[in-house]
Amino acid sequence: MPSPPDIHRSGRKPFPTYLVVFLAPATVLYTLFMVYPLLDSLRLSLFSTPTQGGPELFVGLRNFVALLTDDLWAPRFWGALKNNFIFFAVHTLVQNPVGLLLAALVSNPRRRGAGVYRTLFFMPTMLSVVIIGFSWQLILNPLWGIASGALHAVGLGALYQPWLGHAGSALIVLALISVWQFVGIPMMLFYAALIGIPEEWVEAARVDGASSWSIFWRIKFPLILPTVGTVTVLTYVGNFNAFDLIYAVQGALAGPNFSTDLMGTFFYRTFFGFQLQLGSPTMGATVATMMFLIILVGVLLYLFAWQRRVQSYEL
């Protein structure tokens, strides 16, 4: 039988041209629409815009110094950063456990209607943030919202507060609305991880006399820890880019008194301007660069500190 020409034995490997062909469209598009704008906005953050038109002037790191220390910019920046961490903390502490709980419940093969629940829990994730923001505003509205009526109906009317209007509660409420919307994503990821666990392992544990509780915590949970990490880093990136929900509910001034101001809304006001305030592209680029750096640091921390440690648990 004549053997086909074998390139591996012919000594010299030809350059895999097809790789270039396959990679080119993605690389070109990604460079054009992601890498170039990113680098250009990093460049822009080193310039200042003269007030009325005119060219940009190179000022080095002065924008960053102003952002971090100037008593006009710094309170807004640190305030937005702090709010962002609170926003993220609420997501991590509520979204992960709730997502895990829901995933554990719907992954139980004996639960009837698990598919329906799965769809229902995932539904809000598919809706537009604007719709979510509008619906929750109506629900919590002090004049015609159902929140106060519902609380009154169970005798807890005194607990009702205009939560979105108080500086102390507005951010937490918005974070919870966001959790409500996006809890479907961790649920699905956890669900996928849970049903990927070989049934024999669970059976073996059961034969050894382990309770459902210890099966979950000693066997299933360690196996899905990498997914917890993935979900957390996805949430982190999403939260530090968050803008739409705050803008839809509280507007670009992120009231009351900037208590719901996130990096995203801060960036919007700085870059595009707001009402009589004119936008500043260069200062906006500075804020955007800070957002980029914060997200970068978070992702690197995840890669080096978390992902390496949990590797040993991987299936």
């Binding site: 007030t51 009325q52 038109g53 006009l72 598919g115 769809t119 539904m123 598919m126 809706l127 537009s128 604007v130 719709i131 505003q137 919590l140 509205n141 002090p142 004049l143 015609w144 106060s148 009702y160 507060q161 205009p162 939560w163 979105l164 209007g165 108080h166 500086a167 509280q250 507007g251 670009a252 001034l253 009231g255 009351p256 008194n257 900037f258 595009f272 301007g273 707001f274 009402q275 009589l276 305030q277 004119l278 936008g279």
Partner: protein, 431 residues
């Protein structure tokens, strides 16, 4: 189950896809070969007044087309809060419409300085406007006007006349009378005394601070004194405005901290509130929504018979995109806007937007006429944060929103508010 689920998914996706997420954007007008040869040319108007779409389509544009049938005009508004950003992006990208609705003062001045708006100083008919009317759309040296002034809005209070009659109240002339009226309405309990919320923040500044303020700082005198550096926000004239606003709190609706602008509008037009701190631009909407008789009173003074001041704010104008492909037609339209015909048509089509031209006009809407009458009895001024004082950082207007909302909510004292505003202004403004 599967196909059902897929169908449901598709339905949801379609639904979310169909929501009006974006306001209609203006198409750049197609270039024409020869507009003079009787071919139809299309002009596009950029505006933030999406409430006015039908009025432009049904009244203003047909009236213009009766004279100039060959110039088609498309009114293409975007959402008010997005207008500045959207317009800037369109101008930079070269896709903006031919006619640009101008915000007053620096926003438009910035556009002119960047070369996006054409100078209109030589436009025939510009002399129908007083210097004050043109002041919001002119270079600092007063030489180049770049927008045709369209209208001002006047602040005051609209009240539910039926409710006032029912409760035996008369329109308040002094502040003490206003508080007494609010107290009486509150005691009766059937109506929310004052329909206003602070969730959007701007109402607290625009319908609160700038509405009642001119009586304290004596209109233009106080406003110009601030610009000249002779007055400070920490002066009693300004602190007392916030003191009065703080006294409104007990009369605001329950949970007002989370009540938004449309909520307070609805509260009033549904007949559940008695007094609404208003801008005259509410009139046309209220006319279509409210089923009761409405009246208006000007911001009350300290003592009866004091000179009264009203915020008669230069609000809206129309300029020309300097890069418009149809400059001649756009100028024709702008020239038509300086005529008495347009002044009368516009002020009547949009009750609550009062022409800034010198033409004598009569209004058919009684509520709008009431507002307009105050021009005869009170002295006019404009909002004090608009000219020059909002040029720097922190932005005075945005700061006023923030502190006024906080003063009403009781989380900031009037003195602290005044100090914050003055400190912020001094940071960049040296008169």
């Amino acid at each position: 189950m599967r196909p059902l689920l897929a169908l449901l998914l598709i339905a949801v996706l379609l639904l979310t896809g169909c929501t009006p997420a974006t306001a209609p954007t203006a198409k750049p007008a197609e270039p024409t070969k020869a507009a003079t040869s009787g071919e139809t040319v299309t002009l596009t108007i950029e505006s933030w007044r999406n409430d006015d779409l039908t009025i432009w389509q049904d009244k203003i544009i047909p009236a213009f087309n009766a004279k100039y049938p060959n110039i088609k005009v498309v009114f293409a508004p975007s959402a008010p809060t997005e207008y500045n950003a959207a317009l800037n992006a369109k101008l930079e990208g070269g896709t903006a419409g031919d006619l640009i609705t101008c915000r007053p003062f620096d926003v438009s001045l910035g556009l002119y300085n960047k070369g996006y708006l054409a100078s209109l100083s030589d436009l025939p008919g510009m002399d129908n406007f007083s210097a004050v009317a043109k002041s919001a759309w002119i270079t600092d040296d007063g030489k180049n006007a770049f927008c045709v002034p369209m209208a001002s809005v006047i602040h005051g209070f609209i009240y539910n006349a039926d409710a006032f009659k029912e409760l035996g109240l008369s329109t308040p002339k002094t502040e003490a009378q206003l508080i007494a009226a609010l107290e009486a309405i509150k005691k009766d309990g059937r109506y929310a005394p004052l329909a206003m919320g602070t969730a959007d923040q701007w109402e607290a500044a625009t319908m609160g601070f700038q509405n009642i303020g001119p009586n304290y700082w004596k209109g233009e005198d106080g406003r110009l004194a601030l610009i000249a550096g002779k007055a400070k926000f920490t002066d009693a004239d300004y602190v007392n405005v916030w003191n009065t606003l703080a006294a409104w709190k007990p009369y605001m609706p329950q949970g007002f901290e989370a009540v938004k602008y449309p909520d307070s509008q609805n509260l009033f037009t549904l007949g559940k509130a008695a007094i609404y701190p208003a801008g005259s631009w509410e009139i046309s909407l209220f006319n279509t929504q409210a089923k009761f008789k409405m009246g208006a009173f000007s911001p009350p003074t300290k003592n009866e018979g004091d000179t009264c001041y009203i915020s008669d704010h230069t609000d809206i104008a129309l300029g020309m995109n300097a890069k418009s492909a149809h400059a001649a037609e756009a100028r024709t339209f702008l020239e038509w806007m300086t005529t008495a015909e347009f002044a009368e048509l516009y002020s009547n089509a949009l009750p609550g937007f009062f022409t800034l031209s010198n033409h004598k006009i009569a209004l058919t809407d009684p509520l709008a006429q009431e507002f307009l009458n105050w021009r005869g009895t009170c002295k006019s001024t404009i909002r004090n944060s608009y000219q020059i004082l909002s040029r720097g950082e922190p932005n005075l207007e945005n700061e006023l929103w923030n502190v006024s909302a906080q003063v009403i909510a009781g989380t900031l004292t009037p003195d602290a508010a005044a100090k914050r505003i003055q400190d912020g202004l001094e940071k960049w403004y040296k008169p």
